[in-house]
Structure formats: structure tokens, C-alpha cells
Amino acid sequence: MNRDKNLPLTETVYYILLSLLEPLHGYMIMQKVEEESGGQVRLAAGTLYGAIENLLKSKYIQPIPSDDKRRKVYEITEKGREILLMDMRRMEHMIAVTKQSFEKGGEKQ
């Protein structure tokens, strides 16, 4: 099966896309990602700015009109949702197959 060449997503990109299921500006993305990852993924400003740039280029997210010039608001696109779901399924499969293998070997996770 030919799979999308953008898969797997990096942890950074995955969490950014996930956070943008609702419209957010840059700093709110950082806060939400930190929260949703249980404090494990702390995005730094330079990394986030570069990631937003790339996601806009691949049309996974789009800017939406906002009043604050210094805080552009973004949301996920249809294409972005698709890739996010594809990556979720990819991980689900990995988890399922890992569990199976451990169970066969009689080990418990």
C-alpha cells in the first residue's frame, strides 16, 4: 500500500494539528499542546513558528481572520484532519500489534 509520504507526523506536528481542531493563535497553541501532552511537549517559539510555516505550506492549516495583528489565528483544514486521522490509525495499528505480540509471549504490559 502506498502511504502518504508525510507520515509519520512528528510529535510536534501531531499535537499542533490536534490543538487546531479549534481556532487558536500561536501562544494558545503552545499552552494547549503542553496541556494535552500532559506537560511532555513544550513547544519553543522558534520551533512553533517554523512548524506553522510548514503546515501552512502543506495546507494542513489555514489562517482565519482576526482583529489582533500580532496574533494570527489558525485552524485545521480538511486535508489536515485527514492526515491527523491517518496518523492516528497508524499508531493504533502499532499499539494493537505490540499488545498482541506481548500477549503471545505471555508477557504483561
Binding site: 511537549v41 517559539a45 520551533t47
Partner: protein, 206 residues
């Protein structure tokens, strides 16, 4: 009174460390062109971070500064097309230690700089190739400078007639023919330095 310094670095990491050290002696960066300009401030240690980015428009640049400000970074110097941007962490922000949270994005600043300098090189190369094919520039003039002059029979003339014609054409020869070629050679050298510098910098990040 301002303090002016000149120094070259092997990588952004080294440059950041140098700036961090200087902040302990009370020097705070206010401008970076070819030279570093510092003002004398408090001896509070600062944490510097250098980003490299060129912006297409003002709106993007404003947003960029806004994002860094929101996340605890003070913009010390840099402009929309300067490339390098110097930030320091706000006091009391223990959470922020870097403007990059993964290695890829921190190595990206070197790649961007190398790509940008390569674009400048390509523009110059295109001009030279077009000019060469239109016979405005003869690339052999790097060895024989007299080829930069196009006035027929110029070198056979002598005395005042020669000098008049020579000085008349000199500005054109310099601006349109000699300087682009000299720039081109200079650019090639600069580009090679940049590339070595990028490779070294990226290695340091890993």
C-alpha cells in the same frame, strides 16, 4: 556610551555563549550589522537566542515578534530582512531556556541561511550568463581586464583621445562588467565559508 565589537563565530551556539558572557560584564546588545553594538546596562546575566529568518511582508514579521514576545523573549535587534534575530529571555522566565524545542528546527536556521545566500548567488549567476550571451560581459576579462571595454579600437588610440574615451567608458565598464564578475567570485568564496559554517553548526546541534 556604546561599545562596538567585531568577532566571527563558528556557530550560533558559540555566538550565543559569547553574548551571554558579555551580559555578565554589563554589556547588552542593541544592534548587529557588520559590528556588534552594545550599551552598558546592569550586570544581570542574560540568556541569548539567535534565530535566522527573512520575512516576505510586515504582517508575518509582526506576528513573529508577537509570538516570541508572548512566549517570554525580548527582541534585542533584527529587522524584516536582516536574517538574524537576537532575543533574550525575560527575567524570571525559568521555563524558557531555548527558542527551539527540537534539534531539527534549531538546525534549520543554518540551512535557511545557506539557502538564502545560495539564492543571491543564483541571481548573480543568471545575470552573468545572460550578460555573457548578450556579449555585454566577456568572462575572459578576469584575466584580461581590457576586455571590459567595448569601444572599438580603444587600445590603439593614444594621448588625450585615448584617455577621454577611457574615462568615458570606465564607469560603465566597472558597474556593469567588472563589479558583477568580482562580486561573483567574492560570493563563491563567501558561499563556501557559509557552507562549511552551516555543516559545523548543524553538527554542534546534534
Amino acid at each position: 556610551m556604546n561599545v562596538i565589537k567585531f568577532k566571527l563565530f563558528k556557530s550560533y551556539l558559540q555566538e550565543e555563549q559569547w553574548l551571554n558572557q558579555l551580559s555578565k560584564t554589563g554589556l547588552e546588545l542593541v544592534k548587529k550589522g557588520l559590528f556588534y553594538t552594545f550599551k552598558k546596562g546592569s550586570k544581570q546575566p542574560l540568556i541569548y537566542a539567535i534565530d535566522y529568518r527573512i520575512f516576505k511582508n510586515k504582517a508575518d514579521y509582526e506576528e513573529y515578534l508577537g509570538l516570541f514576545h508572548d512566549s517570554g523573549w525580548k527582541h534585542m535587534t533584527g529587522s524584516i530582512r536582516s536574517g538574524e534575530h537576537y532575543f533574550t529571555a525575560f527575567q524570571g522566565q525559568e521555563k524558557v531556556v531555548s527558542i527551539f524545542s527540537d534539534r531539527d528546527s534549531s538546525a534549520m536556521r543554518y540551512k535557511k541561511k545557506a539557502v538564502n545566500s545560495f539564492q543571491g548567488f543564483l541571481t548573480l549567476l543568471c545575470y552573468l550568463l545572460v550578460a555573457h550571451s548578450l556579449k555585454i560581459i566577456d568572462l575572459r576579462m578576469m584575466i584580461q581586464p581590457e576586455r571590459a571595454f567595448l569601444t572599438p579600437g580603444l587600445w590603439e588610440r593614444s594621448g588625450e583621445v585615448f584617455w577621454k574615451a577611457f574615462y568615458f567608458e570606465l564607469p560603465f565598464a566597472l558597474i556593469f562588467r567588472m563589479i558583477p564578475v568580482v562580486l561573483f567570485v567574492g560570493y563563491l568564496i563567501l558561499l563556501m565559508i557559509y557552507w562549511f559554517w552551516s555543516v559545523y553548526g548543524i553538527k554542534q546541534e546534534q
